[in-house]
Symmetry: C2
Subunit: 384 residues, 2 copies
């Protein structure tokens, strides 16, 4: 019971509202570094920084929890340096909750020529070409040194979610690795270490495999669960199937995290299927290619049409870009390659995503999520 | 008398303190967009943005007046676009005083293959290769559309300040062009246009030519005067001679601006010779190559030695970089090429320069500038 007490104090998910027609829910996820009202979007701070944004700017944009990448931080500067510098929170200058992924996605998808066996994965460092070995135990150890609030199990992400035999093999391996991750995490103190471990459901684009994976992963009592193996820009139907087949089956009293997703329309699709947490490079990466999400549509700020437009990017937005600058100025920054362009668009896109999450949260509380969807999605997804 | 009234209200330099041993002085330069306590350093916002810094960050760093480049803004986005968008203040989102240079320095030195004649200068646009023509009148017209508080006369900067015949020819031309600039500026309303025109003293590295240029330029009653043709990194003795031969001869009741300078040691040298205003890319450009100015010395943040250093960049600094991050984190940002590296070092270097200016101002008021110099310069110029 003592362990349960500790769990409740440090990591706790309070379900606050449920939609009547869908699986959508609003809640509050408590971590040692603060509370995350859900649904929530986590900006991606790949190497310990959300590109171009100061931590105070992220708070101002509405971010509550940030993601950082174990793979990238292990390569540079290394978890030992970060531990010496006081852990990831102090390193990044972010006092709020942090989640680190396990590196599985990067190792298996970012072009690392990796060799996978039952024991783990070997690949070459993109920094210096040295051989790197990730095993479930090592990935937990690395994440322990990084010191995020939430750490992720090491999973095997199959390259093609529709190739059944490969998906079965990768999902089975993910379950065996989860066992080893959980063991190492418990050896290091479990929740008493100040870190919660989330398990990851795999199963590709197959409903039955997703359901089976939920069963296998939920055999462990974790503080939260993730749906993995779903990528942006891939087949939307496959995404909906994968999320729909797994999210509603996950424990009601734990946060559910859809990894690596997505765009505003994805958020509605996934929240309606019971998802609480998101992360994605969409708002930040698109900002660096001059793409803005506004309440009136998506804009390419390099477009000649904005050249002498005195209007703010989004008249409905209160971010630093919209409250002070014209579309004409933002276009000038993007066309001339000035750093302030991606900086301002990053702050804007993050603000747009966080405001959307806040609106969804309110709409769930008022049981009018589908009305909100009808109001905002069509204009938001338009191309201006 | 009515014209004088207007001059006093809009552009006014109040001399507040004088050093007893040198020409150093502290004052307040009033412009339509605010007051600039002097000595002051103006960050350079080449294309309408100080690279990587939001206007609010500049204010926070202590900036009061910003410089923007006529040459770059004429090429992109063009003065007509900026005028349509409400002028440079609104365009840049900077409510404080702005100064635009005349483009002379860029045209003559930035590798533009230019052809100069008595009428003006022709060169090819680095953006689209089109032929561009700058004359004294055109440069005043462009700056009028940009709308800065202070605009600069179009000057001919000779390539070698020690080549007497060339310097004489260029300085004579500068004086003839100054006449034309002043005429066009008066035609456009003079100070009633809301813009003050500053004349520029040339004369290269020759004391007699500098003195003669002061006479020629001060034959015009301007709201301020600049010392031009002195570049960073060139012969320091030549710089001291040029400034020493001209600055003390300029009218006492007008601000004196040393264009394109410099580093902390230059500020002391120039202030002691009577200079009030500076601009330079030093703090911002160096930030982008991982160079920091601190109270303890100059640091290259790419250096391996900072890898696991938990200390702030400068324990004596209150900037966003020093108040939240370690040297280890800043090194990580610089080594991995993260945007936040140049952003934070830019904010730090600017804060360091503005704090130095504030200290110099106080020291002048207390008549202890040489003591301040002895205290701060040796440690600041050290290489850490």
């Amino acid at each position: 019971m003592a362990a349960d007490q500790s769990q409740d104090e440090r990591f706790h998910f309070a379900l606050e509202h449920r939609s009547s027609a869908t699986h959508a829910r609003a809640g509050r996820f408590t971590t040692p570094h603060g509370v995350v009202p859900t649904p929530a979007f986590m900006p991606v701070g790949t190497r310990g920084t959300v590109k171009g944004a100061l931590p105070r700017d992220l708070s101002e944009a509405g971010a509550t929890m940030i993601l950082a990448n174990t793979y990238h931080l292990h390569l540079r500067p290394g978890e030992d340096v970060i531990e010496t510098l006081g852990g990831l929170h102090r390193f990044m200058g972010w006092d709020g909750p942090i989640l680190t992924d396990s590196g599985g996605y990067q190792v298996f998808s970012l072009g690392a020529t990796c060799r996978v066996d039952d024991e783990g994965v070997s690949f070459r460092s993109i920094v210096d070409g040295a051989e790197v070995r990730f095993t479930p135990e090592r990935v937990i150890d690395i994440q322990a040194k990084l010191g995020a609030d939430v750490i992720m199990a090491f999973d095997h992400v199959p390259p093609d979610p529709t190739h059944r035999r490969d998906v079965i093999a990768a999902t089975d391996r993910t379950h065996r690795w989860l066992e080893r991750c959980a063991t190492r995490w418990r050896e290091r103190g479990g929740l008493d270490s100040g870190q919660a471990l989330f398990g990851i459901v795999q199963g590709g684009a197959f409903e039955d495999l997703r359901r089976a994976s939920v069963d296998a992963v939920c055999a462990h009592d974790f503080a939260g669960y993730a749906v993995g193996g779903v990528s942006v820009g891939e087949d939307r139907e496959a995404m909906l199937l994968a999320v729909g087949a797994s999210a509603p089956l996950l424990p009601e009293d734990k946060p559910r995290y859809l990894m690596g997703i997505g765009t505003p329309i994805d958020f509605f699709d996934a929240v309606e299927r019971g998802i609480d947490l998101f992360d994605c490079v969409t708002p930040t990466r698109h900002a660096r290619t001059a793409q803005a999400y506004t309440s009136q549509g998506r804009m390419n700020l390099r477009n000649q049409v904005w050249r002498a437009d005195p209007r703010p990017l989004d008249p409905d937005c209160d971010c630093p870009a919209c409250s002070r600058f014209s579309r004409g100025f933002l276009r000038h920054l993007c066309v001339t390659g000035e750093m302030l362009g991606p900086i301002l668009l990053t702050l804007h896109n993050l603000r747009a995503f966080h405001r959307l999450m806040a609106k969804m949260r309110t709409a769930i509380a008022e049981d009018r999520l589908s009305a909100l969807r009808a109001e905002v999605i069509e204009p938001m997804m338009r191309r201006l």
